[in-house]
Subunit: 430 residues, 4 copies
């Protein structure tokens, strides 16, 4: 997952406003880490995941490297080795510590990383307040990029710790169970028709967007219909009970091979116990609610489910056009209410659950939009270089930070990945 500042912070935004936003985003990271012990923050459960404390340090390194080292001439790096330890994948910035070994770094410890954050935050406050106007024009978009980047890592903190805790036989919880969600059945599935024709997608207006959302461009769409709500756990159980995981005719060839190799027979975090199906959540393991959206499925499973259901996944352009046309709200993430798990769809008309519960797999491989140009410099490595063997997801999840979503947002993961909060919305030709 990665971004580049396409549009800077609002032109009219004063420095004080930005300083406050900086502090708020940085504090939100610390608040997410707060329930976790030093040991929790150090564990790396697989190469794709990183320890919490690494996320805390890496987001800090971003500001140190791309803002302070460049715009603050007398800035002294907090530690000579942190550039090596906390660079994620920026080849242009230099060598870096191997990703699969992040969990081996018992030091620096969480206390030292807290000091690192405070050091950089102090320097950033001074930079925001004092930078000359000319430099500021260059720095401000990078600062906004750093904040958007940190928000992405806030989601990763929750995704990654969920995976780590799930592997612990004690099944420990990240958070106390939130108040129960409204007990309701899933509303019946309806189909939202969208007209085809020559449409436009991509980011083209004001406000921040990552480079991969640009340029805005024309696409031709045939008429189609989108499901009014997400596929539920109950829907998905019927696929399992219909031997979905044992019938190759529903699967892409690589998906079927993955099912065999990994021994998949249900979504990640599901377990079949004597008393019925359960699911591991950030509040611990609990009985499966059939009305909830299914989450933690791979693209292969989403695609197989859709074939079994006689439907298909939407293309990313179909998703975006429908979302814009429907004017879906871009806020109201469940996480805003401390609920890091999707809820049953509300009753009502039209498209629901488009934002803020689970990311939605699309049928679209992640590629460059026509005319795409990566940003200049090292931050140009943010998005473009991942454009192979990944699929686009749209929407946003319960663990995505508030204010981080857009209808044009393109998330992406390899088709076999399951630790993201990813689910399924069906589509069909009109």
């Amino acid at each position: 997952m990665g971004p580049i500042a396409h549009e800077s912070v609002p032109a009219g935004a004063g420095r004080a406003h930005i300083a406050a936003r900086y502090a708020a985003v940085r504090d939100a990271t610390e608040a997410l880490a707060a329930p976790l012990s030093a040991e929790d923050q150090s564990v790396q459960s697989m190469p794709d995941c990183s320890p919490t404390k690494w996320h805390r340090a890496h987001t800090t390194w971003f500001f140190e490297t791309f803002l302070l080292a460049r715009f603050q001439p007398d800035y002294r790096a907090f530690h000579a080795s942190y550039g090596y330890l906390f660079n994620s994948y920026y080849e242009a910035v230099g060598a870096r510590h191997p990703r699969p070994e992040r969990g081996l770094l018992s030091r620096p410890g969480v206390a030292e990383i807290a000091r690192y954050r405070r050091h950089v935050d102090g320097a950033m406050a001074a930079l925001i307040a004092g930078l000359g106007a000319a430099d500021w024009r260059e720095a401000a978009p990078l600062l906004e990029l750093g904040l958007q980047h940190e928000q992405q890592h806030q989601e990763l903190i929750l995704m990654d710790i969920k995976h780590a805790l799930s592997l612990n036989p004690l099944q420990p919880a990240y958070q106390a169970p939130p108040p129960p969600s409204p007990a309701r059945a899933a509303p019946p599935l309806a189909w939202q028709a969208v007209a085809g024709g020559l449409r436009q997608i991509g980011h083209g207006g004001a406000g921040f967007a990552f480079d991969n959302e640009t340029p805005r461009h024309k696409v031709w769409l045939e008429p189609y219909r989108l499901a009014s709500r997400l596929v539920t756990c109950g829907d998905y159980l019927r696929f399992i009970e219909a031997d979905g995981y044992r019938r190759p005719e529903f699967w892409l060839s690589e998906g079927w091979a993955t099912v065999q190799q990994q021994g998949w027979s249900a979504p990640l975090y599901w377990a079949r116990e004597a008393s019925g199906w359960s699911v591991f959540t950030l509040a611990g393991r609990r009985p499966l609610d059939p009305a909830e959206p299914v989450a933690h499925v791979s693209f292969y499973e989403a695609d197989a489910f859709a074939r079994w259901a006689g439907r298909r996944l939407p293309g990313e352009a179909e998703w975006e056009v429908a979302a814009v046309e429907a004017g879906v709200a871009l806020d109201g993430n469940l996480g805003d209410r401390g609920r890091f798990h999707p809820e049953p769809a509300p009753a009502g008309d039209g498209l629901r659950q488009m934002i803020g519960d689970v990311w939605e797999w699309t049928a679209s491989p992640y590629t460059a939009y026509p005319g795409f140009r990566p940003a200049a410099g090292a931050v140009g490595e943010y998005n473009g270089k991942f454009m192979s063997n990944q699929m686009v997801l749209r929407g946003g999840a319960a663990v995505t930070p508030a204010g981080h979503l857009r209808a044009t947002y393109r998330n992406f993961f390899p088709p076999a990945a399951r630790w993201a909060f990813a689910g399924i919305r069906l589509a069909e030709d009109s």
Copy 2:
């Protein structure tokens, strides 16, 4: 690589005509295998490759399974186990021998497989001559599919044996060196402009096409330019000499990881010797000709080369629209002249080398066209189930059989594959 009969053989084609075509295609396979010893025909150099004798048997199994077993009530299978041994990947047809173990099958030997082919060819001749009209309407498209399928395997026979022979320290040749190609320098690179707008691609007319070429559908294209000729070995050498394989900024992230893991520093089959660069061909190893098109590169290398050159790869729609607009000839494969290696581009105007020298990597992931429906039955597994983690190639290679190509043809390979005869054509925005 795989197909499905979309359109049957020409409606007017008489049975005698079809019987002759059947015999010609089948004989061509045997002619390709003829220079190879029993041992040559049995070797499997990697899981992606198959022994020659397996190709000979598998293509035969296709006719036995999809034609004879279905339409010839009294047909007796040649051998009870061949259905297991020579099924490639058709899950619906039953269990099959594991692909990576095809090279372990010393039996049946080549003589036995020749008998198998004759047995099936005899039964097929009877079927073609004697099938009732109603059955024939169903059988004829499957027969045509079987022939197209066999042609695909003719190409694979050459690709696979080239790989196997290349690993032998003796560097043995498949064929005697053909007469030298016309000694000529590569013509200068020119750019062919193509207008954008709402265009159509895909197969929509008469004649055979695989299911993945359908349906014909609208796409929106911005104006673009296509290189008039393929990237040459000389062009590619400049990329190598510019440290292209050591500079991450040109590479997709997975491409760069592959370069490190595999230790790539040049295309497959190239070797740097004291006397200069050499290349392994089906006629043995010989000095590299800088005027020839570069071949046996992966998508990652093609993409990195294009970035280094300040250009990009064409989308598959861009390739097809340009080819159709230019009216490129669909015959004249180099292999028709017994030359299984690409030649320097001829002088002249317009798009050259579009067909019959090397497949051309496009920027397009291999996905379903809007409205795509796989064929019914087991042959529906032919193409659709491979639509993940593969890139589309267009054109056709020196080893592709004559008469097997179309402007709408979609070949596909994983982005790291290098044993296909695949090269590079550049594109740029207008």
Copy 3:
């Protein structure tokens, strides 16, 4: 498996006698290969196995490298690359083709290898006839070593092709079924007591021995008893039926891990079918005879069986002392009668089946005898460098060539190896 000439050929042996012996051993190799097709001779079923034609060439290379190149000044190597292709593991002789890729060498073909053998055989005949007396004293022991080496590879040819054919779903046979062995039940197990004390083992007299059998040296043994016959398939079935493969208490830790990883539940080549247990032999698959010795078990299985039976495996010194004391015959291999599979023990008194049916796993890791010195030169790599992580086997198998065995012979394999003809004899403390 490997050797070094410790003692030369009999001092009194005339050149004609030696020429005849050379021809006989070389012809025996060709006779073993004769039933195999070109494809059979080229297949390599796992890295530990080699193609038949490779064995034929490698044994030839041994004479070319260690005899002809050294003692025949005008000898011209048959092919410049064969030194690279057919060196097995002699680091001192130079680089070599990677062992796991022997199956990729479709060329040289079997006909070429037959020519290679004739070329070397002609030169060897000239060398034997014409070498001066001083050179002959040096050459004769190497020649004998070459013949012993070739005999070892005769056994490997049968072991390796059995493994390859067993993986073919057609279950093809190397040979037609021999006449049935005498139908008899296994005689009851008796125990042969052997006195302990200060004994001697190792080769110390005249005649050929490999370097690893020397020097003859003293060992202290406590009194012990050896089983009068091998463990039978029937005995072993009781271990299986007692859940032997599912009870960790019988297994070494690494053995248990191997059982889990490999999914072992019976000896190699056994299969449980609806009609009962069957076993794959060089004459094809046939019903298991419970009276036969169990074969194709690993050391781990032999050791676990012994624990389950409340006994133990003998040490190699115990085996040798008992064999010498009992004066077991060193000939009469079953293979001499064209029977490449062990038979039920004959009735009678004393130790039976010590030689010529299956190798017997001992409890002894393969290490150097006190005072061991490897031979000088490249042939010094024959045995000593394999002295880690292997276990000693004693006796000799139905596939071991006649005249190749001694009571002091030390065979060795890694403890997890199962493709050798290896079985079990129990021991216990007196």
Copy 4:
């Protein structure tokens, strides 16, 4: 590494004495863990290593499982899952958490594990004080075994954390540098002659020993000489400079393969920097002292060094007979002085450095002594089941706890292991 109580605690030892010994051993573990942060205690750097906190819990589980659960009828397990989490390899006790995933257990945290230890220590104090005499006779040997077991894990705590810290680019230290060791050159190498003949080895007297040290038994030895001191870093540097790591003639075949695969060119923890060789120690990285014993070599390296030096490694019987004959002191470990790194040999006569600096690789595979019987019950899994593919080491290291060593002690590791504090003493035939 593992043990079984062969001899119980001294018959005359009073309960108070034992309670004090229990407390002292348990406290020593906590003292070793004290310098480590919560994160340090949680990291697992490779499957063979375990986190510090796991060692603290596992040793506690041993007392809980083998003492409290058996002899204290009303004992309540501290936590229902700890039997699963902290069983190391006792199959008879039940399922267990996979070893390679110990580093994924962020919970229980270090504070919880401290509570676990206190809980068990309290119950053990009550058991020691109150157990009836009959039970005590059974319990006392198990208690002593538990303490010896805990001492083994004290050494593992230091070995494992050294490995983990060494992988951290910050190269953090476990302890502050101790006062410098006496600056002295290594004394010249002398040879201690030992008479051969019929000797005895193994534990046979009073006092504790592990089961693998028994029974005491006769061995025949030829006369030999042992080096008076360990091989130094300076000695080993000469091997490196003589291209020892690039010359296959010194290496066992598996050793050579390991050198190639792992890219070894020096002992573990050595680094060649611009300023010369350095070595990582528990007090951080510092320049290599050529007078110190070489440590952290594999058996393969020890064996190759010995061949290069024209000598050999001693057999374990040779080591033990010489140590007993010389009456080497069994105390004085460097670790007693807070020095977890070997020092140069003192001047003087006779065998030096036999105990307390580095374990010494022997030429002996780890096998059962004649007449060996594992202990009854689950503790019988302690030693016997590891008797394959391991080599015996003798002596004891700077990190071995005081009072834990005996001349009959048999340590063992796989021949490629390097993270133990293991070095080299040469031997030769007289």
